[in-house]
């Protein structure tokens, strides 16, 4: 990989019509990719194409359209399986997003396998979607929920505290691959090694990592991996839970109904095998097909290139933002230790006001607690502002952010 390599954004941006939009009289500078990414025409067209030419329900019909729709749907599953480095496509469950994926682990696996006094280990830097389901699963099973103080970890190095907290009572460790506020990349491979020593499973919330890093579930060694399509160029309403086949066999579905059964009697029923067991009802066929096109797009650009591009943006953004008086950056200082996002607090300025001033200049960022209230409490701030980039963002757009922040300081 060439040092200082950056993607040809002028070419890439041609695929994203929305980036041509004007917002409040300014050219849109979209820096809210950690919330959701924009979609290339290839994805939009794949969805439209499906509705125009192939629309039918999957797995039910004998007719040609149903065959085509089922074929496209299952091809998408293979595509996901391939980018995750999974052994078998049937280990890929389509969900509505990582929230559903994590709920499926907490309730489908957790309620069946957790007992009183077992320990569920998460971190205090998790998105609510990797915390709240575990709170409820703990309450229902009598298991204890323990929080790794990741907010205090230097540069995202959670291993020392993890080793301290692991013991035989820990049955599952559920961590984000990359933080949605700090951007910190957790050393999942090493986490898995430690967890295996005490026989705990490892569930990874990959919502903020899969869009930005090459993910290989086999090399990570984890047992579950959750992701959302819409954060990685795909449509909203689609997510994935990948899990090892033997674990999926030992899990209950979250939803029951059509498509997930083997045989139904008047009073009882038996379930189909994974993945059908976990996909009751008509799935989001169009969304899944659109996601497959998003994967194709990312594969064509290359995930290592995406990562390299974001690293350059990281370096530049961290450097430029640090020059602003009273601006405090949350999370790792080393660009290599974070994915393509930076959250910060401007002294005495409320993030909502900062975001509103930026918006008036066409710069879209996120402000608030980013669904991580316990983390913000630990950091002793109510809220923060987050700029998150992707493969189409440029250094010039970071300049627009910095200029906007200076303006915010002046106005407020």
């Amino acid at each position: 990989m060439l040092k200082n390599y950056m993607l040809d954004t002028a070419k890439i941006r041609q695929d994203f019509p929305i980036l041509e939009r004007k917002v409040n009289g300014h050219k849109l500078v979209y820096l809210d990719n950690a919330a959701t990414s924009q979609k290339p025409v290839q994805v939009i067209e794949a969805v439209a194409e499906y509705y125009k030419k192939h629309n039918a329900n999957v797995h039910r019909g004998i007719h040609a359209l149903s065959e085509e729709a089922s074929g496209l749907y299952e091809k998408a599953r293979k595509n996901v399986s391939a980018i995750l480095g999974a052994d078998r496509p049937k280990e890929v469950i389509f969900t509505s997003g990582s929230t559903e994926s994590l709920n499926l682990v907490a309730f489908g696996w957790g309620l069946k396998n957790l007992q009183e006094n077992d320990v569920i280990l998460v971190s205090d830097a998790e998105h609510h979607s990797n915390l709240v389901p575990w709170q409820v699963a703990a309450a229902k099973t009598g298991a204890k929920l323990a929080l790794l103080p990741a907010s205090q970890a230097v540069e995202g190095d959670i291993l020392p505290m993890l080793k301290e907290m692991l013991n035989e009572r820990v049955k599952i460790v559920s961590l984000s691959h990359a933080g949605n506020v700090t951007g910190a990349i957790f050393p999942i491979k090493e986490v898995v090694k430690e967890a295996k020593k005490v026989g705990a499973l490892v569930c990874v919330d990959g919502a903020q990592a899969a869009p930005h890093l090459a993910v290989d579930v086999k090399s990570l060694g984890c047992d579950f991996y959750a992701l959302s399509a819409h954060k990685m160029l795909g449509p909203t309403g689609v997510g994935v839970l990948w899990a090892k086949e033997e674990i999926l066999e030992d899990m209950d579905p979250l939803m029951y109904g059509g498509g997930m059964i083997r045989e139904v009697q008047e009073q009882t029923a038996t379930w189909a095998d994974a993945p059908e067991k976990f996909e009751a009802g008509t799935p989001n066929v169009a969304g899944v097909i659109g996601f497959s096109a998003a994967i194709d797009y990312l594969q064509k650009v290359g995930m290592t290139n995406v990562r390299q591009h974001e690293l350059e943006l990281n370096k530049y953004a961290l450097e430029e933002l640090q020059k602003i008086d009273g601006l405090n950056i949350i999370g790792p200082k080393d660009p290599e230790h974070r994915t393509g996002l930076v959250s910060f607090v401007l002294e005495n300025l409320h993030p909502h006001d900062v975001a509103a001033v930026l918006d008036s200049r066409g710069v879209a960022v996120r402000s608030g607690h980013h669904c991580a209230m316990p983390l913000h409490k630990k950091l002793s701030v109510n809220a923060s502002t987050r700029a998150s980039y992707y493969l189409y963002n440029t250094k010039k757009e970071i300049d627009a952010l910095v200029e906007g922040l200076k303006e915010a300081k002046k106005i407020l």
Binding site: N24, P351, D353, A356, V357, M373, N382, A383
Partner: protein, 124 residues
């Protein structure tokens, strides 16, 4: 959109009225905005049916602070019955700005606090 940070709003944000704590409050509440984690405390001192004094405190965005300032100014001296009638539309009008949906929630936070205060007082 920059126009939400207009003079009147900024004046109330930078020099808010009735910000702080009183020692002799009749009733007090804490209200939070789940969108951003902002929290404001509000206290009410009631004499008979009349709002003698009202104060707010906490860290919040410019819109919430300015709305709290404007609202507390507006309801001081009113009867509880009159204060209850205050709507968020009226409050936003008093603020003199146009707000997007997400910022309407910022402006209505103190109003919710006030309504809860009155309810708390009346049900006590």
């Amino acid at each position: 959109m920059n126009n939400i940070y207009r003079e009147q709003l900024m004046e109330h944000y930078k020099h808010p009225q009735n910000r702080g704590k009183m020692n002799d409050a009749t009733v007090e509440v804490t209200e939070n905005n789940p969108l951003c984690g902002d929290v404001i405390d509000m206290q009410l001192k009631v004499d008979g049916d009349i709002i003698q004094d009202v104060m707010f405190d906490g860290s919040a965005c410019a819109v919430t602070v300015a709305a709290s300032s404007v609202l507390t100014e507006a309801v001081k001296g009113l009867s509880l019955r009159q204060a209850k009638k205050m709507t968020k539309e009226e409050l936003i009008k008093l603020l003199g700005v146009e707000l997007t949906t997400s910022r309407v929630k910022c402006a209505s936070l103190p109003l919710e606090a006030l309504h809860n205060l009155i309810q708390k007082y009346e049900s006590a």
